[in-house]
């Protein structure tokens, strides 16, 4: 049944319901006619019985038979064996009888009257014959109508299907037309349009990510190529060559970092960023990050301080956490000012790691997009970063079931909140 097209199924259901209604109506008509005819026969017989009884009282006996009626008065009082006879000679069709025993001055008499059922039977057979023709004809007409109606009801769906089929990836902004009425079809259109909008946003994100990633990869590659090609165009002195190689190495480092960051982000996107969780002391993590950046901070004449209670321990991947915090410190060194303060505090089952500096922090208009990929504040565009540092820190925090946030209210402040225990 479920393999049939919906139009055929609707028609079949409609035809079945219609058949039941028509059959019930037919049966009702038939029974109604039958009972009213029977009642008429009954009344005729009763009237005739009264007449015949009067006749019997007057002493008459004998039998009169016509097409339609029968009257018999007998002296025997044994009642007739049956009240319906198939045939009585001289009468039309079957005959129904009524009788009564009457006391007369000359003794008991049996009075029998009969009425022919020919007309009644004929009327019933006629009705049955008409119903047998009319009901199937009505059923066929109703089914055709049902088939047409189902088609008409489904036509907007088919039209919408054709519209939807015509929408391709090359014109993701196209939407399905929505009908005036608030019905199933227009709700379907609304739902599909919302789905299309979500797909469009996903495609747009994907497209811009690919464009950004290719831009980010091309920039260091272009520098690398230009540097090397320029070095080879003419004979160079040793210091010139050394400078070129140093510059090329820096670009290679940038490419390596970019490739690694992209890999981690891709894994985080698929929800399978491998985390080796173990009990980690927050003080150890901050200490390791401070040591890693000490020489760079010293070279820039800036200090890194840590402030953390010894007792804070959380379940986290030590290396990933250090990588995330390292990105925040790297940003603070690159774009921030003054001393950098790292601190960790535990509250409500969460551990917050703050990285603060004394600079102005992220520009307010940039804050909502700070953790998106390849977004950079205007000032950071030429800083040589990959544009992925904050996105990566956020991805690592999220893989731990935590969040990353930033504020610029009291100097630069970016922090990660991680759950203390494995959830």
């Amino acid at each position: 049944m479920s393999r049939l097209p919906i139009r055929v199924r609707l028609t079949l259901a409609f035809a079945l319901a219609m058949a039941a209604v028509l059959a019930a109506t037919g049966a009702f008509l038939y029974l109604r006619l039958q009972s009213s005819l029977d009642e008429a026969v009954h009344e005729t017989l009763a009237a005739r019985l009264v007449d015949a009884t009067a006749l019997a009282r007057s002493g008459a006996t004998g039998r009169t038979v016509s097409d339609e009626s029968l009257t018999e008065i007998r002296t025997a009082t044994a009642p007739p064996a049956r009240t319906e006879l198939e045939r009585v000679p001289g009468m039309d069709g079957r005959v129904r009888l009524a009788y009564s025993v009457v006391d007369t001055p000359r003794g008991k008499r049996l009075v029998i009257v009969g009425a022919a059922l020919g007309d009644r039977d004929e009327a019933l057979t006629g009705l049955l014959r008409q119903l047998l023709i009319a009901v199937p004809v009505a059923l066929i007409i109703a089914s055709l109508l049902g088939y047409w109606l189902a088609g008409a009801a489904l036509r907007p769906v088919e039209a919408m299907r054709a519209e939807a089929a015509a929408i391709s990836g090359s014109e993701p902004g196209r939407r399905l037309p929505r009908g005036e009425a608030d019905d199933e079809i227009s709700r379907l259109a609304t739902t599909l349009n919302e789905m299309l909008a979500r797909l469009e946003r996903a495609i747009e994100r994907e497209r811009s990510f690919v464009a950004d990633a290719s831009h980010e990869l091309r920039t260091p590659l272009a520098l690398l190529r230009a540097e090397l090609e320029l070095a080879l165009r003419k004979p160079r002195t040793a210091p010139e060559l050394e400078a070129a190689i140093r510059s090329a190495t820096a670009e290679t480092d940038r490419l390596v970092r970019l490739a690694e960051d992209l890999l981690v982000l891709a894994q985080a996107d698929e929800g399978r960023l491998p985390l080796r969780r173990e009990p980690v002391r927050a003080a150890d993590v901050l200490g390791a990050v401070r040591e890693a950046f000490r020489s760079r901070a010293d070279a820039a004449g800036r200090s890194i301080e840590t402030d953390v209670a010894d007792a804070i321990v959380l379940a986290a991947d030590r290396l990933r956490l250090q990588q995330a915090l390292g990105n925040l410190v790297d940003n603070a060194l690159r774009y921030g000012e003054g001393a950098i303060r790292l601190d960790a505090s535990a509250r409500d089952g969460l551990v917050e790691f703050h990285v603060r500096d004394e600079g102005p922090g992220l520009p307010p208009e940039f804050l909502p997009h700070a953790f998106e990929r390849f977004t950079r504040a205007e000032a950071a565009r030429t800083g040589g970063g990959t544009g992925l540092g904050l996105a990566l820190a956020a991805a690592i925090a999220e893989a731990h079931g935590g969040t990353a946030e930033a504020s610029s209210e009291h100097g630069g402040d970016v922090w990660l909140s991680l759950p203390q225990a494995v959830s």
Partner: protein
């Protein structure tokens, strides 16, 4: 040859400048679109190397702005954005060439030499003759403020007229510029299309901008 390099990555700008200098060209560097516009206004550069992703105004806008201000120095877009859409946007914004990073220095230099061979003539992206305007890239044309609805052939024919305003164009010239050799019926097709064009760009406005020059051809009135 004097070249303006518009590039916000200092290292890249320095490399291009050094490469050009070693070829004996002089190069100035602008780090933002606004700098580029005023520097181009101050000096007639023989070529402009323009990055797309710039702080503030992007390269496409800078290019459009230069053309709008009537500066016709050849522009070469040099950018890491390599999608077809980007290249089309760049060329339609008025750039003369498009090169994607990473690029080869030899190619950059060859392209700059090729650009320098072009005379600094006006090469507007939107053609204007009188109150007729035509944008070949967007495939749109206007008479004053009203958009004209032209068929492809009519549009291209109007473009041919608008590229030589005020000049008498012979039937043969129009035929050769609007139809190819594959077109069989060459007898009076030009006259037919000129009639169509007049129906759309002149008659509704009560104008007579395409005039018939007896025995010579047709001319689009200049202004």
């Amino acid at each position: 040859m004097r070249v303006l390099v518009v590039e916000d990555e200092p290292k890249m700008a320095g490399l291009i400048r050094r490469g050009l200098a070693e070829e004996g060209y002089s190069a100035d560097v602008a780090a933002t679109g606004d700098d580029a516009i005023w520097m181009a206004q101050a000096t007639a550069y023989d070529a402009i190397v323009l990055d797309v992703l710039l702080p503030g105004r992007n390269g496409f806008e800078v290019c459009r702005e230069l053309r709008r201000a009537g500066m016709w120095s050849p522009v070469l877009m040099l950018t890491a954005r390599d999608s077809v859409d980007d290249r089309v946007a760049g060329l339609d914004a008025g750039a003369d060439d498009y090169l994607t990073k990473p690029f080869s220095f030899a190619e950059l230099l060859a392209r700059l030499r090729a650009l320098a061979r072009r005379p600094p003539l006006a090469r507007p992206t939107v053609l204007e003759v009188g109150d007729l305007r035509l944008d070949p890239a967007a495939h749109q044309a206007w008479r004053g403020d009203s958009a004209l609805s032209l068929s492809t052939k009519e549009f291209r024919m109007l473009e041919v007229f608008m590229r030589r305003p005020g000049e008498v164009l012979s039937r043969l010239y129009l035929l050769e510029h609007c139809w190819d050799y594959g077109y069989e019926n060459r007898s009076n097709v030009v006259d037919v299309y000129v009639r169509y064009l007049r129906e759309k760009i002149d008659r509704p406005f009560g104008r007579d901008s395409i005039e018939t020059v007896r025995g010579a051809g047709y001319r689009l009135r200049d202004g």
